[in-house]
Amino acid sequence: MHVALAQLVTGLSISAVLLLIALGLTFTFGQMRVINMAHGEFIMAGAYTAYMLQGPLGHQSLLVALPVAFVVAGAIGLVLERLLIRRLYGRPLDTLLVTWGVSLILQQVARDLFGAPNVEVRAPTWLDGGVDVGGITIGANRLFIMAIVVVSVTAIWFYLTRSPQGRRTRAVVENRQLAACSGISTTTVDQRTFFIGSGLAGVAGVGITLLGSVGPTLGSNYLIDAFLVVVVGGLGHLRGAVLAAIGLGLLRAYVEYWSHASIARVVVFLAIVAFLQARPQGLFVLKTRSLQ
């Protein structure tokens, strides 16, 4: 019982991080048909932002790191979109290859800037303890990660459904031509989506520093799992991503506990293959006419 509860928390905190990463992926694919392999490096950028800030700001720098990482990762994403990716819209396979190259370059840049060995980001003192629930201690760091994600996802939901910019985003996702012919600047909407998606990955990167050390390949470790969340959740779907992330995070945590990390991987993959046999389109289908 205690074990089940402890793994539930572990699983949910993995789910939370995956969700934040998957959101950017699912929206850039849903809207622009871009498969961004460099998305993992936005996570890394966020993590190193937290590392950089703890020097000047000290232990309590984490709260500052969250918004700064959002902007830093978002800005890197925006530059990438302007320089490269926008020339490849609607060509998923080309974006996959090009962004994979970019991903390797960015990892090398990180190695040159911060060195190859992993670095540590010290958690603020108020995240040291834990909360006792039913006889087990839930780490405050894991609770904090979940809180970050709940706040972020709620903010994205409000943005999409309540704000004028979000309305435009949904219009472009659904029918790009009609959106342009309604006076919506699709380029602006694309840039904004890219900025927000990359920024969320940066926020996830800050969260990940609470779970372990930071290295140049930090992002690529999470990217595949995030892609799986996207595939299972259905492309371009907020609700689907949430459910898929929770499912995959829990599955991984439980199997990992009762067996081994690499076995957990295999089980997760098999479960996804079985799922996609039954529902190739994912949990939800996005009806879209953008970029046929």
């Binding site: 309305r167 029918n175 309604s182 006076g183």
Partner: protein, 230 residues
């Protein structure tokens, strides 16, 4: 108001329009006609900037808009109602109108209300998802969406295609009203009777070229009927 001079339009290598020229005078309603597949929709796509013109020019209100992006043409005052009652199906009826109104710099505060006055059927449906509307209601919404930007020129692509007769009458009344209030209109239409009732002038496309153009009074002539029959 809108002058099209000698445009060629192609999909990749297959050319669809050849040296098409036409003129929409201020406050006029010009009807573009022609058989299925002749290139009427292609012409409107080129006028909206969804397809590039291989050669020729499009001028709107004196400025050369040939290379402009679609949204810039909308902001300059061109409204577009695509063929096949297109709406944002996941957005509510209100959001469909609001999203277009928010990006238009020229539109006044009452623009959405004015568009709804033209199609009162939409009022009780404002909170409904546009994807759940009937085809006729979607067509009305599509026209209303084009109108909230308060265009000076409206391009309509077969607004009555596949719509039930009672709603056709409402749409016709709306078009007549807009025309009377001074909006310039380019109407693509297959039905001769509908065109005869509404148009000031007509243009008939045949095999990707302008086969004949003139005042609407000629539309009853046998030579014109010949061009439109299969």
């Amino acid at each position: 108001m809108l002058t099209v001079s000698g445009i060629d339009v192609a999909y990749g290598r297959s050319r669809v329009l050849f040296d098409v020229s036409l003129e929409i005078p201020d406050r006029a309603l010009v009807c573009v006609m022609g058989r299925n597949g002749v290139g009427k929709t292609t012409l409107l796509h080129a006028l909206m900037g969804l397809l590039p013109c291989g050669s020729g020019r499009v001028t709107f209100d004196g400025s050369d808009i040939t290379g402009w992006r679609p949204e810039r043409r909308v902001k300059a005052g061109i409204g577009y109602v695509p063929q096949g009652h297109e709406v944002f199906g996941q957005l509510t009826v209100w959001e469909n109108l609001q999203v277009a109104w928010e990006v238009s710099t020229a539109a006044k505060a009452s623009a959405i209300d004015d568009a709804l006055d033209l199609f009162p059927r939409l009022r009780p449906l404002l909170k409904r998802r546009a994807g759940f509307l009937s085809g006729g209601q979607q067509q009305q919404l599509s026209i209303a969406r084009a109108l909230v930007g308060q265009p000076r020129l409206l391009l309509l692509d077969e607004p009555t295609e596949g719509i039930q007769p009672s709603i056709i009458l409402e749409i016709e009344a709306a078009i007549v009203g807009l025309h009377r209030d001074g909006l310039s209109i380019l109407l693509v239409e297959q039905y001769l009777d509908f065109a005869i009732r509404l148009a000031d002038q007509y243009v008939i496309l045949d095999a990707g070229e302008v086969a004949r153009a003139g005042p609407a009074s000629e539309l009853g002539e046998p030579a014109v009927r010949q061009l439109l029959s299969l």
